[in-house]
Symmetry: C2
Subunit: 287 residues, 2 copies
């Protein structure tokens, strides 16, 4: 039995995990079993088996993805840009250690190269071993794992550029902060082909609206086309989640071309996910 | 100072409210102040002022609506049917004690009559007094408050029928159970004009999928047209929320006609809210 971590507590015979990332709202999940709990060089990594959400990846006390709904986030961050770009060949994923985004990208046979740059190798190994519901035990030979800081990786020169870049980052605290700065987006722009596009998760419009607004402004200062889209992700507080796409050329998704086997996204969702509620339009001065 | 109720606890100087409606997932909200806490003849009623969601209406320990996001649910349950019916004159609301749905319905000057049937008068009074962010201190003379069990009301005969019926019920526990039975939907059908339509909140596709499926089946057994639509409501666990519409004639919303002042819904949301994620389509055998 792994010793109880600081995020877990025992009440009678029950184990409860409390998410600690917010001061005034706490979510308590009843846990069946602690599958994995270790410190990597960078963070505390747990895989917990929960009653309501199945297995969950928890980094430094914050839930990253779950067996129940991980596919929603991963399908939305991967298929919307890949459906919008007419012919992506080289794809870069930054972050996404749970391998769920890479798994979705690998559904496209026309893609030649999938570079996945994740700062913490241990997260990838743990997810492959203990969270196959999300990682899919990813073994596609096109996926090139690079264990490095994403902000450093995009500073280096390569002899090829990307068609699509996906930034699948954790919240803007700790090591991920640099992934929310203008400097980083400039480097992404430089790594994209002249008709390339990028997407990043841009947080909750309710609980992290400042982050969302900053990302939108940063991308607007760099790309001729910026579009936001939305999904409901039950394990993220408030459910509401935004993604922001910066593009050099393409802006229209091609829902009729979509033919992948998925659990959330379909042609109708691709058509509709760019509809932005009025309060978010006002936050972004979109009207 | 009102005495601490069983749903509240003090930790140091902080007051926390724990939602008790689920066994394996608990949401704890930090509370600034207990605004109101009394038992009506039917239920325990609280208005709490929370840090993250502002004032919240809590019935028997379950959050019904909040100042932060109450408008999302109320706009979606009111405007989608009223935008779909080309010329509603008589509207019936069943439940909706927070008055938020009635407030949205009252934005339509072409509507002559708004009957609002709520079982607990005290909820309406409390929301008018202590939750004006949701109730809007509703004083429109067209709103006819009837404090009665909704299932009894629709058994009686009146000399007029309704164009639109909105069922704004609490979860299928306790007194609200009858609002989820086929018998009740049959009575709604009988109370609708020959081109009338009804809508009900049909719960979470993740945590109450059986309820959602039952409502969809019941309405399909009665109405020639049944459509489901969705919104993200941050204060409901998982965020995902479904609404199901049963209609005798009209099925197409008219987004271009929409001209109300709202915070969530707009033309694009009206067009897009009927897009159903793949996993829900599978639950409902829609494919």
């Amino acid at each position: 039995m792994i010793k109880m971590e600081k995020y877990l507590r025992k009440i009678g015979n029950e184990i409860w995990f409390t998410e600690v990332d917010r001061d005034n709202l706490k979510l308590d999940y009843r846990i069946k079993d602690i599958i994995y709990s270790e410190n990597s060089l960078l963070q505390q990594i747990m895989v917990l088996d929960s009653y309501d959400f199945g297995r969950m990846l928890v980094l430094d006390g914050a839930i990253q993805t779950t067996a129940l709904d991980g596919y929603i986030y991963n399908e939305m961050i991967a298929h919307i840009p890949l459906n919008t770009h007419p012919n992506p060949k080289n794809v870069l994923i930054i972050g996404g250690g749970d391998c769920g985004a890479a798994r979705e990208v690998a559904k496209y046979s026309n893609i030649d190269r999938i570079d996945m740059v994740e700062i913490d190798e241990q997260v990838v190994n743990v997810c492959k071993d203990y969270l196959p519901e999300v990682s899919g035990d990813l073994s596609d030979p096109r996926v090139n794992f690079i264990f490095e800081d994403g902000t450093t990786f995009v500073k280096d020169k390569r002899d090829y550029l990307y068609d699509v870049i996906i930034v699948d980052s954790s919240d803007p605290v700790g090591p991920a902060v640099k992934l929310y700065e203008l400097e980083f987006y400039k480097d992404l722009y430089a790594n994209l082909n002249k008709d390339g596009l990028m997407v990043c998760q841009s947080e909750s419009p309710i609980f992290y609206s400042e982050t969302m607004i900053n990302i939108y402004k940063h991308l607007n200062s760099l790309f001729p086309i910026v579009k936001m889209y939305m999904a409901t992700v039950p394990t993220y507080p408030g459910g509401f989640w935004t993604f922001t796409m910066g593009s050099k050329k393409y802006w229209k998704p091609n829902p009729d071309k979509f033919d992948k086997d998925t659990l959330y996204i379909n042609k109708e969702i691709i058509k509709s996910c760019f509809a932005i509620p009025e309060f978010i339009k006002r936050l972004l001065d979109m009207n």
